[in-house]
Structures are given as structure tokens and as C-alpha cells.
Symmetry: C2
Subunit: 462 residues, 2 copies
Amino acid sequence: MLSFNSTDAEYLDELAAYVAVPSVSRDATEETMRTAAEWLADQLSFAGGRVVATSGHPVVRGEWLGAPGAPTILVYGHYDVQPTGSEAEWRTPPFELTVDGDVIRGRGVTDDKGPVFIVLKVAQAFIAQEGALPLNVKFLFEGEEEIGSPHLPAYLREHADELAADLVISADGAMWRPTEPSLSIASKGLVTLDIEVTGANADLHSGRFGGTVANPLHALSEILAGLHTPDGRVAVEGFYDGIPELSDERRAAIAAVPFDEDGYRDGLGLGSVFGEAGYSTLERLWERPTLEVNGVTGGGKYTVIPHTARAHISCRLVPGQRPDAVLRAITDHVLDHKLTGVRVAVHPDEGGVPAYTIAPDHPAIRAARAALEHVYPGQDVLLAVIAGTLPATALFEEVLGAKTLFFSFSTADENLHAPNEFLRIPRLREGMRAWEQLWRLLADGPHRLAPVAGPGSRERSA
Amino acid sequence: MLSFNSTDAEYLDELAAYVAVPSVSRDATEETMRTAAEWLADQLSFAGGRVVATSGHPVVRGEWLGAPGAPTILVYGHYDVQPTGSEAEWRTPPFELTVDGDVIRGRGVTDDKGPVFIVLKVAQAFIAQEGALPLNVKFLFEGEEEIGSPHLPAYLREHADELAADLVISADGAMWRPTEPSLSIASKGLVTLDIEVTGANADLHSGRFGGTVANPLHALSEILAGLHTPDGRVAVEGFYDGIPELSDERRAAIAAVPFDEDGYRDGLGLGSVFGEAGYSTLERLWERPTLEVNGVTGGGKYTVIPHTARAHISCRLVPGQRPDAVLRAITDHVLDHKLTGVRVAVHPDEGGVPAYTIAPDHPAIRAARAALEHVYPGQDVLLAVIAGTLPATALFEEVLGAKTLFFSFSTADENLHAPNEFLRIPRLREGMRAWEQLWRLLADGPHRLAPVAGPGSRERSA
């Protein structure tokens, strides 16, 4: 057993320096992104850590390959973070790691800087205390996860041989909830798009022109209201195409998961939950695709008829849905609206991601379950679904031929992508012990990861 | 006849200094607002011009009362301007008066700094060239017109005696279009409100919570889409209450107005006009009330379910509608929506304004028509409606017992409240000659304004 013998304060001081870098991939400077990447590369000095330029924000690479004959894993994570949103809603400055009782707060502490920090400390402890890792480990940290990983596909394809591995372990992702350990056996896909409605050639005075021209905000509202039926189904024809019907077995398995719907509702401050008719909250979360309007802009709080109005939309996809087909269905549905006096355009974003799954009896899931049982003795490990999207997973499967295990010590209630993002401090040490176990189990014993054919074995034999 | 013997360049230099003060009543500093007010007070030095504190932005007052026995008028205007909106959409800096061919551009040039400048130059020319004005003139310029004149009612009531007049002449308002002179015999009223939809207690990750909670933007879209029927009528029960049916006579009069609907449509860059079914564009503009969504905000271009979404709405009212009743009807309609998992609040703004009318045969309209015929020989003077709102008019009637004549040389197509606001340069001299005529005609001759009973006469005899 490794000894994680730094004090909490020492660990948190170190993590604080990383959180202090405002590496918001959407709008940070190149220099800021590089600062975050360099912090990571320094941490990987035992593995030849380095910052590698790409067409976008750089990636951080490293590898320790001193365990011949042992399996090879690729550890994935990201150093970029979401925008802060309204800073007024933060109780503490977003880029100052702040301890508050048994949590730490700050943008990125749980998505994904804290979870990546855990694996770094585990690897460093192995090297310091045992002089070696139990298996071969490659590291790949990207800086564009929060903007849809636009340059990762090309990078992976160009470096497929170097990155070959028997398994990808993602330090991104999240445990489903704080009450018990869980593993994710699937994640949802993602497509995003904008709808833009344009009226006159300039903003118009609502008095001098009001009532005589179509108002783009009225038209946009009608379009958006038409995306769902009143009972919460997505009204877009073809949206659900390809999705297998939810089996009685899966329904029963989900129904057996202890889930306090009242607590979920109250925790969000809601009077009631809401979603697609005919499904429970957990079924909606794990098994059903969604279409959410994320943002609407147009005009302002003054007497204007804006000449343009815009909505941003994202859909989370489940297995069976094809990203391109979903985008086409939405585009057709939107353009089908008969609207007078406005022009409507749909702008699909590139980089659609299909849903991803890993079999519950995959050796990686079996090893991960054992590692969690070791750290959380006496607790059942839930098999859950990440309703969020990790775009890299489908890519890893396609390009490296490797499945991805989500092994994050983030928890889904920790205000990811929202103000006041936080991480439970005990998760740091729990995570370290779990990663240690996971690596040992994958390297040896009944859950040993069998090297698979493909570029992974090719490189190891080179 | 007065001689307006400054060059255009001299006039424009002077006006440029006034336009350079960014007196945006919504968000300018107290000092900026005072700077604009002081510029006006200096221009009124012949009339004891002064800046007078109120509970809000100051007013500018002045009076020249050297024409005993002649009628007394109160000249009204405002020195505040609208926000610039997106500065990227301005072709020239908004607070730099820029000459571009036969127009000048800049925030406030046409609403209302240019039109107020005209009357200042006329009064100064009378004093310089004739040593007197033809009638008694009081001046009242406010700094809060663009935010609904919140402090004007109290100020007027407290100073009703000092401000008493036989007629108010507003330098605010606008000619309907550039092709012929026009006078306004009515203006629409105004009520404004916000609709706020709240969901969870924080913004949520659209993956981790999507599909299980109501999205405030979906709910708001449904509410907004429900405010109109597909044929352009306002769907709010009671909205049209109290409005007399449009008479055949009025319909015929409007139909007789030369109006190039194709040109109107093309000028706005639209494929077609749109509005309430059963009415022509001019009827919609002049005779029918409107409900317009001016702005929507919520979330952003990232994968979030915003916890709140908000819309700003304004309604233009016609005679017969009561502002309070309209706000109540909208509130009831909005709160009637059955929506699960969100809270809906309606926030009506204070300061609702009813519609305003002045009889076509009122002496002020007759004199104004004659003045315009003098300046625009051979052209018919159209009697039109200001589809916009001048909140002060109803107040002047209530508090001073005086009707208001709109006499502005702004034109409604000059991007009021929008980027690239402009004013036609010839309007400046046309306006000066027209105001000169108007004052002479009101003072003497067949259109002489008869002093009316009320506070006006009280003060003149004091």
C-alpha cells in the first residue's frame, strides 16, 4: 500500500496553484492556457511530461513504460475549465481555491483539475515509494474538452501509434451522487446548434414600427416552444429514431436503484421534477435523449424590436442516435415553421459526438468495482450512466481501438459548469487509494487487463 | 422674418458639443447628466436658464415672459438619450456628431437633441433680431424621457403654478416620414413589464440534469409564444377592452393617405410586413395597440440549463385602454399558463402612460399646419399618429390643463433608439423657420391661441 503522506493542507496548496490559472478554453489567452498545461507537464516530470502544440490549445503528454509485459493504459483528462458565468453568483472568487468546511470551491476543482490531480499524486507516490508504476501508463491531457475537443480527433489520428493502449482511463466524468460509489457504463452523446431569426435590417423603435413588422423574438419563441410537446417529449420528427426500446430488464434494474426523488427535487430547490412523459427521473437521466435550450439572446430591457434573436441548443444523445441525423431532423423541423416577415437560419456546430457504452462485465469495470469496494468497504458499487458527454471516448474507441473507463472522484452534484463549483475534500484521498488499487488490479490478479490486438500491442512490441 | 444666418458648419459645431455628452439616462453618471443639462441652461441664458435638481436627473428650466396679454406656451423636450446598443453596429462613434452627405449621425441627433437645438436657435434669433419673443415662452427640458420620466409627475405637480401655460409644444416626437410634412394628432400610451421564470436554485449542467427538470427557457418560450395568435392578434384576454371600433370614416381617411407599403417593407429589408389580421399597415401603426417582446435573456452559448430566464415586454396603447387594466390582463394571462417545475413572476414597471389625443381642429393644430404650409409650400400636411409614446403629454393635460402640440423636425425613419441614429440636415433650417412661423401665428392672427382658464392665467396675472 502506498502512503499518501502529505497533509491535506499541502495537497490543497498544490492544487490551489493549478486552480488559480483561469484556463477557460472558450476565451482565455494562449499564454494562460499554456501556463495550465505547463503546470501539468511539471507534475509529469517522472514520465517525460511535456506540452505539445496542436492546431488549438496544446495537449500535455507523458509516458512511463517501464513495465514490460504488463498492460498499457492511457490516462485522459483535461486542464481547461468552463466560463465562470455570472461572477456575482459566486460566493468566493472563482479562481481562488477556497476551503469551506469539508469541500473546496473554485472553477475547475471538480471538473477536471481535482480529479486529474489525484492521478498525478498516485503516480508520483508509486515512483517515490516503489520506484516504478505497476503497469505502463501514458498520459494525455487536453485543453479543449469544455469546447467540444475540436482538435483532439486530428491529434489522436496523427499520434495513434504513440498513444496506443489496452484501455483508456478517464479522470474526467463524475460519480453519480455522494451517497455511494458508482461507475459509469455509458455516457451520452452531444450535438449543439444555434437558431437565428432575423427580421428588419436594423433594430426598430417598438413604438414607431411596433405592430407592423414581425418581431424576431416572437418568431424565435414560437420555434422554441414548438421543440417540445407539453408532456415533455421532443416534438422533432425523427429525433428518437434508432433508439432501442427500453427493456423490462433495464427498467427493473433502474427501478431497483435506491433513488430519493423528493430529495433530488428539494436539493435543486424545485417544486417538482419534469421530463419526458412515460419515464421515471432515472430513466430520463440515463436512458433518454434530451433537447435543451441553453441560451437565448435578443434585444434588451428597452423599447426596441430587435432585428435579430438567437438561441443556443444542445442535445444529449443515447445509443442508437446518429449525431448527423439528429441535427438534420432539428434543422428540418425548425425550417418547417411557417413564419411571415422573418428569416430563420439553423447553424449546427461541428464535432457532434455519439453516445458511448462499455459492457458491465468488461475487465476494466470489474477491476474498478473491486478497487472501489476496497476503498468503500461494505458499500454496493452502482453501475450508472453519465448523462453528460465525454467526446473523447468515441474517438478513443475509433482511433485507438480501446474502451474507456471513467474513473473520476468528482460527484455530479458539485456545481459542474455552474457558479460555486466545489469538490468534497475526502474524495481526494479516497481517489488516490482507489487509483492505486485499480492500477494494481489491472496489472495483476483475476482482473488483470489482457493486452488486446491493435496499435497498442504494436507499439509495445516495438 | 428672422434671419438664421449662422452657416451650417457653425450650427453643427454647436450641436456636436451637445451630442458629445453621453447623457444616457439609463446608466450615465450624475455628472454626465448635469453636463448635458448645463449645456441647455447656457443656451437659455436669455430666459434665465438654470439646472434644477429633482429626485432624479435634473430638469432645465427657463422663461421669457415679456409679452403681456399674449398667450403663454411651455416648450418641452429632453436632454437624455437611449443606450447605444451594440457599438459594433454603429458605423461612426455614437457620441461624435458626424456629417455624412445630407445627414448628421450620432446618438441623440434626432431624439431629441437636434429638435431641441432648433427651438433654442429660434428663440435666440428672436431675442437677437427683434429684442423679444412674440409670445410668452416657458422652457422645461427633462433628463429621464427615455426611462419613462419617473420623476416628472411629482415635479410637475409641485411646480404647476410656475409652469402654467395655454399650450405645451413638444420638441420631442417625429414627423411620420420624410416625403411630406405631417402633424401628430395622437400618440400611443405605454406599459412595460418583465416576465421572469425561475427553475432550480442554480444553473445546472445540461448533461448531468438535462431531461429531468423543467428548463426555464422552454417555459418562457411557451409563455411568450402564447402572447399572440398566429394571425398576429394579441392573445391576452381583455387586452383590447375599451377600444372603440375603427370607424369607416377613419378607415377611409387612412386609406386615402399615400402610403407605399412595398417601399416601407423594402426599406426595412423585409420580405413582407406582418401584423394584426384585419388591419392595414397604417391602421396597425396608428390605430391598434401592440404587445412586443423587446428582449430575452437567459443562459448562454454553453451546455447549461439556466436557473432563470427573463423577458422584457412593452405595449403601446390606444385611446380607450387603461394602462393598469392592460398590465393586469397580461399578468393574469401569463400566470394562467400551467407549467410544471418552474415559478413564474410578472414584474410590471411603474409609470404606465395612457394614449393621448389632440383634436384636428384645435387652434394649435391649425396654427402648426399653417406654419408647415409656409415652410413646405404646395405640400399637403398629413395628420398622423405618433405610434411611439411621449409620457409627458397625459401629465401636462392632467396637471396643467394644457394640450400638447408635437412639433418636432425629427423623422420616424431616422434610427431612433437604434444604432446609427441620424437627422436630415435640411430639417434644422426648415424647423427653425417653422417654429418662427408657429410662434408668430399663435401670438397673432386667425390662429391666435386663446388663453384658457386655469393655472396658466393665474400665473400670468400674478
